[in-house]
């Protein structure tokens, strides 16, 4: 074979196979070409074998030419293979198209009741002021609910509390009742722990009263500070600080009015200023007033009844409605709905599990937050 012929022969092969590869339509045919070229008795394989029989000079001359041809055809095969594979994958994916507007399975969304949420908020705020959370039974004796709180049997104030009673007496011959307020927790705390005391006591309370704005069961929170040198000014600061933190507003204005509770002296009722915005009461300013808290300096007789020396220890107590705080902050207007367990109401007014009140994020959970 003349040199010229050899060269032409190689070029012919290249010119025959390259279009074959390029025009190949499927992977199977492409594999056939691969075998024709690179199989055991493929043309390129055989050509490469001829290199070993050549004289060194010839090899030096022809080797690179053969290698070039091999590389060109191999590259063409690989490129075509990738292209055909990609095309095949795309064809497959095209058949696997899903309607992504179809609904996916949903996770049920649970909720925390607004009363629980607000109690957690209150615990968070008061913890920052050094108050622990104290608890007591809801079925109480009349000594802790009334007598120790300076409400003797014939006191007209007992009539202010529409009390639920149980038959029989406990081991101390005391009448048993449903606590009408969280104040017996004051007595339990003072009789069981040494001052100084700073507690809040949230919980269920009961009065036999039922109409559009009263339910026979509702929630109160009690606060108690017993220490040396505590006076009305501290009470005022505590309530201001608490309400500002709870409503997360600096313009919370309080109006303190002298009042009467048998277990405090002096007694103070606290009004908070509000305005009407979009038909809802919004806390802040001093346009109108509403009563939110009862409070006062703990009566000497109460401190004495708990076995403490009222000449050494004095302090203040306050109480307010948790349901009411929740309504004022989050805008519910029907107390009865709090205790109805309506899925829809709970879903709307309830809080997400992860809405844990913290001081760094603000204790409240805002709409859209």
């Amino acid at each position: 074979m003349s040199e010229l012929n050899w060269q032409e022969n190689l070029a012919d092969y290249r010119n025959t196979y390259l279009p074959k590869i390029t025009n190949c339509q499927d992977l199977e045919a492409l594999d056939g070409l691969r075998i024709e070229l690179f199989g055991k008795s493929g043309w390129i394989t055989l050509l490469l074998k001829t290199l070993g029989q050549m004289l060194p000079e010839e090899r030096t001359a022809k080797g690179p030419v053969i290698q070039d041809l091999r590389q060109i055809l191999l590259t063409a095969l690989n490129e075509k293979k990738t292209a055909l594979e990609t095309a095949a994958l795309n064809d497959r994916l095209a058949t696997e198209r899903l309607d992504m507007t179809l609904p996916a399975p949903s996770f049920p969304r649970g909720s925390v009741h607004p009363v629980s949420q607000v109690m957690d908020e209150l615990a968070e705020i008061f913890a920052d002021m050094g108050f622990a959370v104290a608890e007591g039974p809801e079925i109480e004796d009349d000594w802790r609910n009334f007598t120790a709180l300076n409400i003797p049997e014939t006191h007209p104030a007992r009539a202010m509390h529409d009390t639920f009673y149980f038959p029989g007496k406990n081991a101390d011959s005391r009448d048993m009742l449903l606590r009408t307020h969280t104040s017996p927790v004051q007595i339990r705390t003072m009789t069981s722990q040494e001052p100084p005391i700073r507690i809040i006591a949230p919980g269920r309370v009961y009065r036999s009263d039922s109409d559009a704005t009263h339910t026979p069961m509702f929630h109160q929170i009690e606060g108690l500070v017993i220490d040396k040198g505590i006076h009305l000014g501290h009470l005022k600061w505590t309530l201001e600080t608490f309400l500002k933190a709870f409503f997360e507003r600096d313009d919370v204005v309080l109006r303190l009015r002298p009042s009467y509770f048998p277990f405090t002296e002096p007694s103070v009722e606290v009004d908070v200023g509000y305005s009407i915005t979009n038909g809802k009461r919004v806390i802040g300013g001093s346009e109108s007033w509403m009563e939110v808290l009862g409070s006062g300096m703990v009566h000497r007789k109460v401190i004495e009844a708990c076995g403490l020396d009222p000449d050494v220890w004095q302090g203040f107590a306050f109480g307010t409605g948790v349901d009411r705080l929740a309504m004022l902050k989050y805008g519910m207007d029907d107390l009865r709905a709090f205790f109805d367990g309506d899925n829809r109401w709970l879903g709307h007014y309830g809080f997400a599990a992860l809405d844990v009140p913290t001081l760094s994020t603000g204790v409240g959970t805002g709409v859209g937050a």
């Binding site: 007209p156 600061w237 367990g341 709970l346």
Partner: protein
């Protein structure tokens, strides 16, 4: 307590308007509940002259009037027979609202004649009963002026809430005294009417019950005419919300409202023998002025004569001896009753009255003599008659009480510095006597004052509580110290874990109907005085409340209910005190998943959903749930074959769960499977605080190996027993046993089932070789065989 501004000004010299008065009342602790001016609704009604009264051309009973109410002649059609030319009356123009019926007057044609308003009767203006004709005013009444202003009706009425301690302010005079002390005006001195008796009291008066009635003053007034009380008195009574009745009754009511001092007038003709304050006899009865019959007992004090009881002392008089139109001679009674006894009697009889509310708070024992003279003088002035001498039986408790006070206490307790002289002035103006070294004498009308703290309150309320400077509570160094107890932390964690699992938190009533409590083992606390039968027994379980809530939701068309509650169950401790156990109850009803394009039909909840929730919640509580025992005895309210308890040790039940018994569900009108669980938070052992450091752990380097085993076991063998046996057969190597198949049917003999488990083995230092794996496998099979299991080929 309601009263008009003019009434207040009878006792208080002041230029203050109604709003200044209201502000001051609020500031000093007399809470204003409302202000109403009767003139407001009458603002449109003016005095008018009837210029001409002509017959209506179309109607015999109507007249066409031309009236002038200051703006010139206007035509009005009027049906009143007394309408006539030249008279003066009250005109309501078009646009005015008629107070008696709320109708708006309009320009209208009546039988073809235009009418531009209405000439009014006093009835139409809600000022009287008289509707026989239009109101007739004196000829000199000024045409065009507001009727209400001319008639003196522009007198706003204040409604004040009096706290139980302030009996002294249950009369207008006492309120005036408080306002004067607060600087709103000057208290006018009381007139001192002394009515000289002209004859000896003809009836014997005494008190046989000096505990219940320490003092009883009385006198007779003869020859009275019990007619209508004067306009000024009627107006004041009306402003206080009291209906005028007759002069004698009105006078005693007026003095009660003016001075907070109840008294009673008996028709002397109805009395026989001595009038005595004594204890009631058992079963003695009296028909009271509210027309109800009361049965009395010896704990109650009464006023009686030879024939029986005439008055439930200090609470309500009897009808028999009450004053009527025909009364000519009266016996006046002004007595001091023991406040505690009045309270007890009132509570026992469930009888409230204006008199009771004052006596039980303690009236001023120093006012008896003056009060009797005041009432006598009013009777003589209004009803005529002659008065007897006064009889005073017994003695009122008038021993002066005093308190040793330190003016520095005001700052120490009240938080505000008030100059000692200023404190003295405030207390003096309230009637306190200030002696040497601050010995403070309490006025007889202030029964509520019994210690220095009360005096601080008096000073600060007059100074103004708003003037107390806010004082920060001392604060510890550094950030706030955590305060929550382990139980509180557990409760908060469980609540949010339940919400995170997709459950909605409900708050249900603590009390149940008896029937519902009974279905859950019965409650240990039943109310004596429930508000209704539906709220009677303290709940022994959280499930009834959740079931009722689920039923309400279903009735509203809900397809799926996932509820939980975290609250207490109520039991009785051995000593009769309350044993309240914090519990988390949860309830699943309806669809677990709705029908779906991929999932097909809706899937209902089943008992395993309850198990899943309970396991997740206990896990959140930090309980090692793998170690819990699954046992029976979840309670009769559960399906006997689809419920269980989870226990830590054989006795300590942490939770119960399962499908509800259909009979229980039926009580709550619930159909279909209802799934429930309760977790007893009080049973979860408290974790010992051991700092923040976790036990050391490095994930194993070598890969875990899994091996599957299938066993034939008795059909009634709890699968958990097999899993537990395998797991504990080689604790060094087996780290998990997962039951992945349960099969009954072809290839499985009757009375047996096939259970398949995947066992995970974790090599430690070096990989397992075949003999080791064979040994572990043999151990597993041996452990299973002990339960009667046979390895399937």
């Amino acid at each position: 307590m309601k009263f008009s501004l003019s009434w207040l000004k009878e006792h208080l010299e002041t230029e203050a308007d109604i709003h200044a008065v209201a502000d001051c009342l609020n500031r000093i602790g007399l809470e204003v509940e409302g202000i109403e001016n009767p003139a407001d609704v009458l603002a449109a009604f003016r005095i008018a002259k009837v210029l001409k009264a002509n017959p209506h051309p179309q109607a015999d009973k109507l007249q066409v009037l031309i009236v002038d109410a200051g703006d010139g002649p206007v035509q009005v059609v009027c049906g009143a027979p007394n309408a006539r030319t030249g008279m003066t009356g009250i005109f309501g123009p078009a646009g005015a609202i008629v107070p008696s019926n709320g109708m708006e007057l309009k320009v209208t044609a009546i039988r073809g004649e235009m009418s531009n308003g209405m000439m009014c009767s006093l009835f139409e203006l809600a000022l009287g009963e008289d509707h026989d004709g239009i109101a007739e005013l004196p000829d000199d009444a000024p045409k065009g002026e507001s009727y209400a202003l001319w008639a003196g009706l522009n007198d706003p009425v204040i409604d004040v809430a009096i706290t139980p301690n302030r009996q002294d302010c249950m009369g207008v005079y006492g309120i005036a005294r408080d306002l004067a002390a607060a600087g709103l005006g000057t208290l006018k001195p009381l007139k001192t009417p002394i009515v000289a008796g002209t004859f000896a009291c003809p009836i014997d008066i005494r008190t046989d019950d000096t505990d219940g009635c320490p003092a009883f003053y009385g006198r007779v007034i003869k020859g009275v005419n019990n007619g209508v009380s004067p306009d000024w008195m009627r107006a004041r009574l009306k402003s206080a919300g009291q209906k005028p009745i007759s002069a004698l009754v009105d006078i005693t009511n007026y003095v009660m409202l003016d001075h907070g001092r109840p008294s009673h007038a008996y028709d002397l003709a109805k009395l026989t023998g001595a009038v005595v304050a004594r204890r009631a006899k058992d079963g003695e009865q009296v028909m009271a002025l509210n027309d109800k019959l009361y049965s009395l007992n010896p704990d109650m004090t009464v006023i009686a004569d030879d024939n029986g009881v005439h008055d439930i002392a200090g609470i309500m008089g009897g009808t028999h001896s009450g004053c009527s139109d025909t009364t000519t001679d009266v016996l006046l009674e002004i007595a001091y009753f023991n406040p505690e006894r009045i309270a007890k009697t009132g509570q026992a009889l469930m009888l409230t009255s204006d008199a009771r509310s004052r006596f039980e708070r303690g009236v001023d024992p120093g006012f008896m003599g003056y009060g009797l003279e005041l009432i006598s003088s009013l009777i003589l002035e209004i009803c005529g008659g002659v008065a007897s001498e006064v009889v005073k039986a017994g003695e009122a408790p008038l021993t002066p009480r005093s308190i040793s006070y330190d003016s520095a206490y005001c700052a120490a307790l009240g938080g505000v510095e008030v100059d000692a002289e200023k404190q003295k002035a405030i207390l003096s103006s309230l009637g306190f006597g200030i002696g040497m070294d601050w010995a403070v004498t309490i006025p007889t009308w202030r029964r509520d004052i019994d210690g220095p703290a009360d005096l601080v309150e008096e000073v600060v309320r007059i100074v103004g509580i708003d003037n107390i400077p806010s004082t920060p509570l001392p604060r510890g160094e550094g950030v706030a110290i955590p305060t929550a107890t382990p139980m509180q932390k557990l409760e908060r964690k469980m609540r949010r874990a339940a919400a995170a699992l997709g459950l909605n938190e409900a708050i249900n009533w603590s009390f149940l109907p008896e029937k519902e409590a009974a279905a859950f083992g019965g409650g240990e606390w039943t109310l004596t005085n429930p508000i209704s039968e539906d709220m009677k027994v303290m709940r022994p379980s959280l499930l009834p409340g959740l079931l009722s809530a689920a039923q309400r939701n279903m009735d509203r068309g809900a397809s799926s209910v996932r509820l939980f509650e975290l609250g207490r169950r109520y039991f009785k401790a051995a000593d009769g005190s309350s044993d309240e156990r914090l519990t988390l109850g949860l309830l699943l009803a309806g669809d677990k998943t709705p029908r779906g394009w991929a999932s097909g039909k809706a899937v209902k909840f089943d008992a395993y959903d309850a198990k899943a929730e309970v396991m997740a919640l206990l896990g959140a509580a930090g309980v090692a749930t793998d170690a819990l025992m699954v046992m029976q005895e979840a309670g009769d309210h559960y399906h006997p074959g689809q419920s269980a308890t989870l226990r830590m040790g054989p006795k300590n039940i942490l939770a119960s769960f399962g499908a509800l018994h259909p009979a229980t569900a039926k009580i709550f009108d619930l159909d279909g499977a209802v799934i429930a669980a309760e977790i007893y938070l009080d049973a979860i052992p408290a974790k010992k605080a051991s700092g923040f450091m976790r036990p050391a752990y490095t994930p194993p380097v070598l890969q875990a190996v899994t091996r599957d085993f299938a066993f034939l076991v008795a059909a009634d063998l709890p699968s958990g027993d097999l899993v537990r046996a395998i797991k504990s057969s080689d604790k060094d190597n087996i780290v998990a046993v997962h039951l992945f198949d349960q099969f009954v049917g072809q290839g499985v003999p009757d009375g047996q089932k096939s259970l398949a488990v995947e066992v995970t083995l974790q090599p430690d230092e070096k990989s397992y070789d075949e003999p080791e794996l064979k040994a572990i496998s043999d151990t597993i099979i041996a452990a299973a065989t002990k339960l009667g299991a046979v390895l399937r080929g």
